[in-house]
Amino acid sequence: MTPTIRIFTQALLMPDLSFETLGDARAVIDENGLPRLHRTTRFVEAEIEWHDQRYLLSLPLNPSAMFRIEHTAAALRRINCPALTEYRILPHELHWQDASMNLQVNDLVLQFLPSGGGFSQALHTEYGGTLLAALDALESELKRAGFVHRNLKPANLIWSNGRFYPLRYHDALIGTTEASDADDFEALRQLVRSATSCTELHDAAIEYTPTPRISGHRWAGNPFEGLICVEDETGFGFVDLDNRPVIPSQFLWAGDFHEGRAEVQTAEGMGLIDREGRFVVPAIYEIVEYDPATSIVSVRQNGLWARFDYTGHRLTEFGTNYAPFEQKNHPQK
């Protein structure tokens, strides 16, 4: 059953009784003590603070809304694109009682919110050339990742540390050539040009200091927990914020650090490392998926899944055909 927006509001005000994993989250509230809500076409969302980070928490307003984003949320776990922030489905997250006092459960969507301001704010604080360059960079990064947002507009962009991050991937497509964000990017550039036209006249006379970047690598990601994933000739590794090597570039692939853990791929398989590069889960498995919200690692071997804890101890036998998070989504299987 689809909950009302009012039910979502009440859940945000008593998260300890309403949320499975976000019990200690706090909603940003207005002067009346009510959560600040925002609507998109198929979702209602609220900004929350959880473990000293900001997130957007979204409730689908009809069952089909979640089906549409399942592929996106799953595919994003495999994409190494610094412009894209964590976006995942929290299965069975919202608990509520209907009018008959029956317990109902619904999935929610959680997206990490980088600290920063909106597009409009950036128009007032940044030079036009800076913003246009940032839009160019974002367009390139999304193209390289095969990610088409399909709803890029000022309200869906956040300006943080000298770059734009797109938000709300509810309409996104991944790995398609049939859609493009080109028109949206052009409209955004037009907004920048018109809003900063006076500044543009003087840009040439202003000393322009580009945002410091990590250089000397084939590719560099964004800082996560003080470490930046980089790709060199020898593979993926991690450097600190001053570009000093921390974990040698030796992996076929590496994800970003969350709660002190990062998924990595070697020739032997996938594993999980800590901040010193030590294997917490050896890189011998087909798939390793770490969920920082629960500190649970889902591991697949010979097509069967098991769960490991944060320290690498196996919690369950290898014995199901579906990862735990998939089981929740597909109980009929």
Binding site: T4, L17, T41
Partner: protein
């Protein structure tokens, strides 16, 4: 039919008819709590208004997706608008801009150990209802009929999703015979836009002894405890097939259409959420 996207150019209308008669001072059990029927109706009404405002909220503010009319009926055959300044209707953005009082609602919540706990939560109120006098429901339905007829006749609304009329009552009309009530209900249901006929949904608040919740009943569920509820069932719209899947999703796969636009102790906001009215638009303007 019933597929028109609700947009600012194709807005729809919600009409709420609120029974504020003396019988509404009786007690009922609603949402697990004992309260007067008037308090239950006030809660249902404000919850629906909150739901509609939030469904219309976008990054540029509350968009005018809906027109809202709220009529109370009570006293000596009195039917009057309960909206601020007594206006016949407001756009949803006008309603959102109205000053509200935020009162504290006490909700019973189930703790993980199974015990019940009471939590105080802020709850905005646009409408407050009283409980006095008689139940001129027929006159209220006539007023709703006239408003909806005028609304549908406006060329700007010709293509719109049709208006939805919610009548929230304990069911005891005092100003008409049953056939009169059925007749005016049929007149409302016969009004239409190009997208479908007007939906008349009756929300019946039960007496204290019956706290069960029924929504969108099919014929075999219509075993109502009193004749007023049975009459309201007859007055309610048969829900269009376009909503069958949504209703079955809420009621369970065993539910078989046709369903009636009626509920027993369920809130209007829940019904709107079930039907996803106001969010059926795939496009955004």
């Amino acid at each position: 039919m019933y597929t028109q996207s609700i947009t600012r150019n194709h807005r729809t209308a919600f009409v709420l008819l609120i029974d504020a008669s003396g019988s509404m001072s009786e007690e009922t059990v609603y949402g697990g709590r004992r309260m007067t029927k008037a308090e239950a109706v006030t809660g249902i009404t404000n919850a629906l208004l909150f739901e509609l405002i939030e469904r219309a909220r976008r990054d540029d503010g509350v968009r005018d997706y809906y027109d809202i009319a709220v009529l109370g009926y009570s006293g000596d055959d009195e039917v009057c608008s309960l909206l601020p300044d007594g206006r016949e209707s407001l756009t949803i953005s006008e309603l959102a801009a109205c000053k509200t009082t935020v009162h504290t609602e006490v909700l019973p919540c189930r703790l993980p150990n199974g015990e019940l706990s009471l939590r105080e939560l802020p709850s905005p109120q646009w409408i407050v209802t009283k409980a006095t006098g008689q139940t001129p429901m027929c006159e209220a339905l006539r007023r709703a009929r006239d408003f909806v007829a005028s609304w549908c006749a406006n060329p700007a609304h010709a293509e719109s999703f049709p208006p939805v009329v919610f009548n929230i009552t304990d069911g005891e009309a005092t100003d008409c015979e049953d056939d009169e009530l059925l007749a005016v209900s049929d007149q409302i249901k016969s009004l239409r836009t190009a997208d479908g006929q007007v939906l008349l949904i009756n929300i019946h608040i039960s007496d204290c002894g019956d706290s069960r919740t029924i929504f969108f009943p099919s014929a075999d569920e219509a075993d109502y405890p009193n004749r007023y509820a049975s009459l309201l069932y007859e007055c309610s719209s048969e829900m269009p097939h376009a909503f069958d899947d949504a209703i079955r999703e809420a009621k369970g796969p065993g539910a078989l259409p046709p369903f009636r636009g009626m509920s027993f102790n369920a809130s209007a906001a829940e019904l709107v959420a079930m039907l996803n009215i106001g969010s059926i638009s795939i496009k955004t303007e």
